[in-house]
């Protein structure tokens, strides 16, 4: 009886997600440092410092997200506020709390809105990574922290973008870890970042030239300091086209914590 009560108490406290920290299994530590984005940011031409942070080694899975919505019924697809998640939210599951054959338990969760991803991370005492953190982590290959200048590595990443989408996404973690121990940054899903809506060139700031380019022309028009980083620029184009309530077949997420 007391065990049942304890379980109820835990559920009420929303303690469904493991908390994160350095040395926590499943989380990688990234030391940070000065980082030059592939985007030309007029106010930071020499790059920006990325502070030390921890990041989930793999994207959040269907099973993990299922546990979250079980503990937080407000985020089940038949109850979620429609201002925070569009109708296709979790539409690849068989039911509000049931996965089914279109969503492997170990597959990355997709069809999630930014608000839902944000709520998941917060429930675990974490947050979504920023775009800078994500780009910094994704610059590494298996042995180098910044492999972006290697044409062979770029080619391999671009191959994924050329492949047609699969109906059921494979399990997370089959990719080799990168130099920080993070997996699946390329090749599995696109990912929400905390500041997804910062990836625009404003249509309103009168001081900027060509303010509408990114919005209306996509990645081809963004001012890029590194024009060879197509994969990164495609991510930016994708994120800049999404609203926070949107959910799509290929966008998942992972959480971060720190500095």
């Amino acid at each position: 009886m007391s065990r049942k009560a304890a379980l109820i108490a835990l559920a009420l406290l929303g303690a469904a997600c493991p908390s994160a920290g350095e040395g926590t299994p499943g989380w990688a530590m990234l030391p940070g440092g000065q980082f030059r984005s592939a985007l030309a940011l007029a106010d930071a031409p020499q790059g920006s410092p990325v502070a030390r942070f921890v990041m989930m080694e793999m994207p959040v899975t269907n099973q993990q997200f299922l546990e979250f919505v079980r503990a937080n019924p407000r985020w089940q697809r038949d109850r979620v506020p429609t201002a925070l998640a569009e109708p296709r939210y979790l539409s690849h599951w068989d039911g509000p709390t049931r996965l089914g054959n279109r969503s492997l338990p170990d597959g990355p969760v997709v069809w999630v809105s930014w608000f839902a991803a944000d709520a998941y991370c917060r429930a675990g005492g974490a947050r979504l990574p920023t775009w800078s953190e994500w780009e910094y982590a994704a610059a590494a290959d298996a042995t180098r922290r910044d492999a972006r200048s290697d044409p062979a590595w770029r080619e391999r990443i671009l191959e994924w973008y050329a492949e047609p989408s699969v109906a059921v996404l494979p399990a997370v973690g089959t990719d080799a870890p990168n130099a920080y121990g993070v997996r699946d940054l390329h090749g599995l899903v696109w990912e929400w970042v905390e500041d997804y809506s910062a990836l625009l060139v404003s249509a309103d700031n009168r001081e900027q030239g060509d303010p509408d380019e990114l919005r209306f022309c996509g990645a081809g028009a963004i001012s890029a300091s590194d024009r060879e980083s197509y994969a990164v620029l495609m991510r930016v184009a994708m994120l800049s086209a999404l609203e926070g309530a949107n959910a799509t077949a290929n966008v998942g997420f992972r959480c971060a914590r720190g500095p």
Binding site: M1, S2, A5, A6, I8, A9, L12, L13, D43, A44, R79, V80, P81, T82, A83, L84, W114, F115, D118, E194, D195, Y196, S197, A198, L199, L200, V201, S202, A203, D204, N205, R206, E207, Q208, S240, E243, G244, A245
Partner: protein, 192 residues
Amino acid sequence: MKRLRIAVVGLVFVALTMGARIACSAPPLPRDSIYQLDADLTDETGQAMAFSGLRGRPRVVTMFYTSCRYICPLIVDSIKTIERGLTAQERERVGFALISMDPERDNPAALKKVMAERRLDSSRWTLLRPAPGDLRALAGLLGIRYRALSDGEFNHSTMLVLVDAEGRVLARTERIGGDPEFLAAVHAAAAG
């Protein structure tokens, strides 16, 4: 062991009664209400409030920041134009809420200064500082994109959102220079 059981049962009881109190304080919001977002704000008088504290009358909601020299004064102007276009009776029924995208600098004093300088009627205008951790979510909800620049300015898009008393979106516009359809929607909301 028995003590632990009592503690756990006590915790459950407290959690349940707290939940009941929250549930009974106000009728539930509709599922499509923007006020479903949990966000903490502080108004220009220093009063802390939940985002859902804005429910109760139709409102035009948008974002701005006080140190902005270019577009934000125009945002205030455009809402004042809407305000002037309403009948006295309609004016009584609507509210205007401007949420700062610069919570670092826009404390209640800075917001209050804008209220005074722009002669905004506090019976229907509310200027709000969001908790920094809730800023991106509020902007996303309103469909506003922004990026803080290193010089303290912001790149941002503009959107005026009209919601009914329960927070359901009635109209949106990016045209701050005057949008007849949006204005008609404000009239309709104020009349209803």
